[in-house]
């Protein structure tokens, strides 16, 4: 791992409970208004459902490794975030992200990137997307915390009450 990426990893991540998402996009709206009207949440069609894709805060983030401007960095809290002024919108991170959670925004030629709302983490609050989710589909938790609620964690990032069957 390069020096730029080394450092503390996040303990909690945003985990999506697939069985509770009602596709209301409240998370997207909250992220939009909390980040200068750019959202760090994309949506993807999974069969008949439209589910939010949130940054997975990877242990070895490809976006950080490929960024030529050192705009993507892991901060002291372990959160991988984008330094807005340094970003040149080259799109390398968008292409490198294996999960497709980054998007190339045209406004201001900046890339929207989830930073786990570190301004709220400092206040002891959850990320905005988690705080607004009406059904509790988005949770800010560790995998053991999710599993203690009787859910199966899939790939460390999504959860459901059954490993295969979906609502």
């Amino acid at each position: 791992m390069s020096e730029a990426i080394a450092g503390r990893e996040v303990e909690r991540r945003v985990v999506l409970d697939l069985d509770r998402c009602i596709e209301c996009k409240s998370c997207m709206a909250a992220c939009w208004y909390g980040h200068g009207r750019m959202t760090g949440i994309n949506f993807v069609e999974v069969g008949p459902a439209v589910l939010p894709l949130v940054c997975r805060q990877c242990d070895e983030p490809a976006c950080v490794e490929v960024c030529p401007a050192k705009a993507m960095e892991r901060g002291p809290t372990g959160v991988v975030a984008r330094a807005a002024f340094s970003c040149r919108a080259c799109g390398s991170c968008v292409r490198a992200c294996p999960f497709g959670v980054l998007s190339l925004e045209m406004v201001g030629h900046q890339v929207a990137k989830c930073d786990l709302c570190d301004d709220r983490l400092e206040r002891g609050l959850e990320p905005r997307c988690v705080a607004v989710c009406p059904t509790g589909a988005l949770r800010f938790a560790t995998p053991p915390e999710i599993e203690s609620q009787g859910l199966t964690v899939l790939g460390g990032r999504v959860a459901g009450d059954h490993p295969i069957r979906r609502r």
């Binding site: 009602i22 209301c24 709206a29 208004y33 008949p48 609050l125 607004v132 009406p134 059904t135």
Partner: protein, 537 residues
């Protein structure tokens, strides 16, 4: 100006873009810059996209800040008090005069409009969504006691639920308590009467999809109560199963929104009340306007008339407060049009005199979210300098400052809204109905100009059956023209295997789409579905 976290003594600001009435807060993020602040506090259970948009509306660049006249040479700015006096004098002297006020102001402001109308000798009325008006009248005129009409938080105690309408989409935060009920009662049965392609259907154990014919949803509810489902199609066995589940439950609940063909709403309200009384269910009504109940009751108590009858009577002078009446053709015959409100719209652009007023959520007030659910709310932020609250505007016009809205009595007395005729689509045609959604408020008059709804959905999306799209040679995502009785509009096609063939849905928030329906008194009931055709552009 800085928003401090609300103390226990100060009532929370409330989002009134639906009748869940979520508490909302802002936080200062820079000089003159505010963000929504999502923090747990009393009553907070989440906030949908519409609620997040409120903060953008506070400082929207198109907001009305000054009183002005529209003159041949352009806009002439005038003083606020001058404008108020001129409006009052015009109403008094250039009759017959009428006042239409949007129902999403607080109940005391609505009562003050009644005082103004009495002072100047004008008729007046309160406008809410047609479906809300129907549902309020239907439930308020029933024998269902106030104790049976509950807010969404009471749904957490239910052990069987019937959901009418796409509630998870129209009122996302209401879903919070249904999920809580499901956590407490994992085997809880959820039935739905709605389009099978709506997101709520994915969480229901069984779905009955009514045809898009006014009155059909009410007939389905009657069938649950009576056990007779003649003419409702093969799906109707779902209704029998629902009747059994509700009858056997200890705490059954019925959640009812009214976006299934608006003329249905009053009949639907009455049918739901009858069913609830029969099975001992509580009823959670979900309205598009947060203060629909407060507006209808305060208006009725203060002498407001029916808005349709008001416009049919042919006023020559009309003051519109906060409402977008749509194309100028809707105001044919009005010689002096005046507007008071926070945001520009078709009506303000056609008005000869315009005055600014604060949004309802920029002042303290009272709202009635449902029977027995009166709330006092505080301002989210004070309005911009020089922009008066509606009550201040009305006081300037001579309404007095101490009007108090009476919301204690049901808003009864409205005539039954006739159900429109069921459309029988010819070959190649489909029946289209409009519905509300979590991205835009009601007719979009407030939220369509905000950045987030525009980004997530820049154009109308028409949800239709995959078979209908295939038959018309259309593919998912294609932009087409939809031709209705009174015009055409561009829409993006979204196909679904679950949508009933011959039917389609779109959001009510797009003016260009509403305009193709030709809704007008005596012609088509507002909100009625219409037969449309699609063609490639």
């Amino acid at each position: 100006m800085c928003s401090e976290p609300s103390s226990d003594a100060a009532p929370a600001a409330r989002c009134l873009l639906c009748n869940v009435g979520c508490p909302v807060r802002v936080i200062r993020s820079g000089p003159d810059q505010y963000l929504p602040d999502y923090v747990p506090h009393a009553g907070y259970a989440g906030l949908c996209g519409r609620g997040s948009v409120l903060v953008e509306l506070l400082d929207h660049p198109e907001r009305i800040h000054e009183s002005h006249r529209h003159a041949p040479g352009g806009r002439v700015v005038i003083g606020t008090e001058t404008a108020a006096k001129e409006i009052a004098e015009t109403l008094r002297s250039a009759g017959p005069a009428a006042i239409l006020v949007d129902g999403n102001f607080d109940v005391d402001a609505i009562a003050a409009v009644g005082r103004l109308a009495a002072a100047v000798g004008a008729r007046w009325s309160v406008c809410v969504e047609a479906s809300d008006a129907g549902l309020v009248h239907g439930l308020d005129s029933s024998a269902l006691g106030a104790a049976s009409l509950v807010g969404p938080e009471a749904l957490a105690a239910a052990d069987a639920v019937l959901i009418i309408g796409n509630a998870y989409a129209t009122h996302p935060v209401a879903a919070h308590w249904i999920f809580e009920a499901k956590t407490s009662h994992p085997r809880m049965k959820i039935f739905a009467i709605m389009d099978a392609c709506g997101v709520t259907a994915g969480f229901a154990g069984a779905v009955f999809q009514p045809r898009l014919a006014p009155g059909e949803a009410a007939r389905a509810v009657d069938a649950i109560a009576s056990g007779k489902a003649d003419g409702l199609g093969p799906d109707s066995k779902v209704l029998a199963a629902c009747a059994k589940a509700l009858g056997e439950a200890e705490k059954p609940a019925i959640v009812v929104g009214a976006n299934l063909g608006y003329a249905d709403a009053q009949a639907l309200g009455k049918a739901v009340a009858k069913l609830a009384a029969k099975v001992g269910a509580t009823v959670c009504p979900l309205t598009t306007y947060g203060n629909a109940w407060g507006a209808m009751r305060a208006g009725a108590a203060a002498g407001a008339g029916c808005p349709i009858e008001l416009m049919k009577s042919g006023p020559k002078t009309l003051l519109v407060i906060g409402r977008d009446m749509g194309k100028p053709a809707a105001l044919k015959g009005v010689e002096r049009l005046m507007y008071v409100g926070p945001m520009p719209n078709e009506t303000s652009r056609a008005a000869s005199l315009v005055m600014p007023a604060a949004f309802a959520f920029e002042s303290a007030g009272r709202a009635l979210l449902g029977p027995g659910r009166e709330v006092s709310f505080g301002p989210l932020l004070a309005p911009p300098a020089g922009v008066p609250t509606l009550r201040e505007v009305l006081a300037m016009m001579g309404a007095g400052a101490d009007a108090r809205g009476d919301v204690s009595k049901p808003a009864a007395g409205a005539p039954d809204v006739p159900c429109g005729k069921a459309e029988q689509p010819a070959d190649g045609a489909i029946v289209l109905a409009l519905a509300c959604d979590p991205f835009d408020f009601a007719d979009g008059s407030l939220t369509r100009q905000a950045s987030w709804p525009r980004s997530v959905r820049p154009r109308p999306v028409l949800a239709m059956a995959a078979s209908d799209a295939g038959a018309a040679g259309l593919v998912n995502g294609e932009v087409v023209r939809v031709d209705g009785p009174a015009g055409s509009a561009r829409v993006e096609v979204q196909t679904s295997e679950a949508q009933r063939p011959g039917q389609a849905r779109a959001s009510a928030a797009f003016a260009e789409l509403r305009s193709i329906f030709g809704w007008a008194p005596g012609v088509r009931v507002v909100g009625d579905p219409a037969t449309v055709r699609l063609r490639k552009v």
